[in-house]
Symmetry: C2
Subunit: 397 residues, 2 copies
């Protein structure tokens, strides 16, 4: 049976090279890096080598990398860690309205801890305006967090300009690059950010590993308190096999990223063009140019996204609605609401994410199988062909 | 060359059965449990099966288990999660003075967040007195956390009595059972605790996985905010391979624990008796009876623990000083300080932890190799044979 797996943003196979490199660290080289004897110090050295490889991928140095258990943990550590460490300076943080839940809900947690949080509006492409950011900054602002790329609509934010606004005012700037690192080139020096989150999964490393880049000058309250692992910034025995997997995947990404980018961009463009040609009343969401190369996102009018995902899966095609929130009936994705997509249209959100092993055959199969599925769902829809109001409605909060 | 690996508390090989069960979940069954389509729902079901197995091991139900990335994270989630969720009721927490750093430092973090923390003294065996706990409770107390067993001196606390004191006063009780689960039987109903932390590593599951048992009636502020994984109590994509490893290890532990306990107790007793017979001026630390079956801990007079660890490692014997703190020159372990061990004697702390695959040959080799190493270190010591002051000095804070 034909098939196409185009949901790499939510899960992707661990790369064989990464898994092979990890395997000895489960049952043979199982030492604890904190141990003083030789078995420990050898493992400690291995961990530090991986740290350097991950740092290399983003233009950082090894001492600026903290390993975490996920991108979500890295985001929580960055936001709460900076906010709590600097709370005597001020209690205001700024994030965009389209951040990942791990950023949005960390900001909401800070509100419960007597911080003030601003959720910055974005334009129709999901972009944060640097002037709008500048205006939102107050003397109380201690942290700004704007994502590098949005997982749901693919838009890459103007981080250089946004970070510059913060630098000028001496405000710490964090970017969630979980959707980007491994999919497009990211360099902390070019971006001039103070902190940056990444996840192993985007790189073909296993689940359960992420990292936070941090400028060493920045004070950070740990999220997980305890022992002195990660220089006292993240307690808990190091997850050595997963760290080794991340290191290997980072090393491979450095070598292969340019080719991967052009490969997925070419196939993505074929997918987008093909869908727009074959399906009527479909809205391409996010920025047209400044977006992740392997990311395509649409809203199909009068189609329920979850039903579309199910029916495509029956045809062996795996895609995503793009948001856990959107999978709940009658709730619109906050991201789609923020870019002004009508609530009914946002129901038809579908996200395709490619990786280096995606083939032209997979894309062509989607182009063949998708239109009749959309037609069938529309033929069952009570609203297909009816006039809908023009305004956007954000009912997800 | 002969050898003995007796540092299973700090690192232990992943069990073959656990690793074999995990392997398909890296690159074949790589779906994300949150996905709505079949690949996702199948993985979600696997995760729920593992949750039930982990629950079974400690007498809980699946819905009472939250997967975390480590025992340290579980401890942080329990302590901060309960304290923050209940802060309107009161801002006082009680922990023992000999808790793991992940508990002690979580309590200290709460102090910085305007909570009050009491660090309960223990007796010479490291036991917390239920009467002392009862006296420390104030109308402001919202949480008590006392570990099930101490990792450094092996002592098992009278949790049933301590939890009963809290139950009577309506105070939430957490126990850190990271050193216990997998090494001795632990049942949340017998103990009558509200929350309990465990770690996969103690069970022969891989690094990077732990769990928190929680009574469903208890409100808990997440430590890692974000998506709705773990019923909204712990965000981040589930670490499926590690969860599968933990599930398998838990299933094996249920079956094998009684035999493991008697095996390691027999060998541990042989080790203790042998050392006490062969080496003069050595103090056995912790409780003599109420202790982990595979745990033996000593302080060797006029011996520097780290030097002993190094020299034993050269002979192929792996043991631990028992505390990262103690590995720093001139600092005494807070645990040994709390049980009244003199600072100079505490420097000679050495901990042996056994597992089911430990052999009589390993123990006998230690009994053969250890005494000459101790003699050699003492012959180089400037304090060996000199009178030392009797008082204990806690210089680790």
């Amino acid at each position: 049976m034909k098939g196409a797996y185009l949901d790499h943003a939510s899960a992707t196979p661990v790369r064989k090279e990464a898994l092979d490199t990890m395997l000895p660290y489960f049952s043979e080289k199982y030492g604890n890096p904190s141990n003083v004897y030789d078995m420990g110090s050898k493992i400690r050295q291995v961990v530090e080598e991986q740290r350097a490889m991950v740092a290399d991928l983003i233009g950082a140095t090894a001492a600026e990398i903290i390993f975490t258990s996920s991108g979500a943990e890295a985001n929580n550590l960055a936001i709460k860690g900076v906010a709590f460490a600097r709370q005597k300076k001020g209690k205001h943080v700024i994030v965009s309205a389209i951040e990942h839940h791990s950023v949005l809900n960390s900001a909401r947690f800070l509100e419960r801890m007597d911080f003030e949080a601003t959720f910055l509006a974005v334009d129709e492409f999901g972009c944060v305006d640097p002037n709008r950011l500048a205006k939102a900054i107050t003397p109380e602002t201690v942290l700004v967090s704007i994502m590098h790329a949005n997982n749901e609509i693919g838009t890459i934010e103007p981080i250089v300009e946004l970070a510059a606004v913060c630098k000028e005012k001496g405000i710490i700037f964090h970017t969630d690059a979980v959707a980007s690192v491994g999919n497009t080139s990211v360099d902390v020096n070019e971006l001039n950010v103070d902190l940056l989150s990444l996840s192993g999964a985007s790189l073909g490393a296993p689940k359960g590993i992420g990292a936070l880049y941090f400028n060493k000058k920045i004070r950070l309250m740990p999220l997980i308190h305890g022992g002195i692992q990660e220089n006292g910034r993240r307690a808990g025995t190091e997850n050595v096999p997963a760290i080794v997997g991340l290191g290997k995947a980072a090393q491979l990404a450095i070598k292969e990223l340019p080719e991967k980018e052009s490969h997925v961009r070419r196939l993505r463009d074929r997918l987008v063009q093909g869908i727009l040609e074959r399906v009527e009343k479909v809205t391409f969401t996010g920025h047209l140019v400044n977006r992740l190369p392997g990311h395509a996102s649409f809203c199909f009018e009068s189609v329920e996204g979850e039903a579309l995902i199910f029916m495509l899966a029956q045809a062996g095609i795996y895609t995503n609605t793009g948001s856990a929130c959107a999978s709940k009936a009658l709730k619109t994705s906050p991201v789609l609401g923020a870019i002004g997509i009508r609530a009914d249209l946002a129901q038809g959100s579908t996200v395709f994410t490619l990786n280096a092993r995606t083939t032209k055959e997979e894309i062509d199969y989607v182009l063949e199988a998708l239109p009749p599925v959309v037609d069938r769902l529309r033929s069952m829809s009570p609203i297909w062909g009816k006039e809908m109001p023009e305004y956007a409605e954000d009912v997800c909060h």
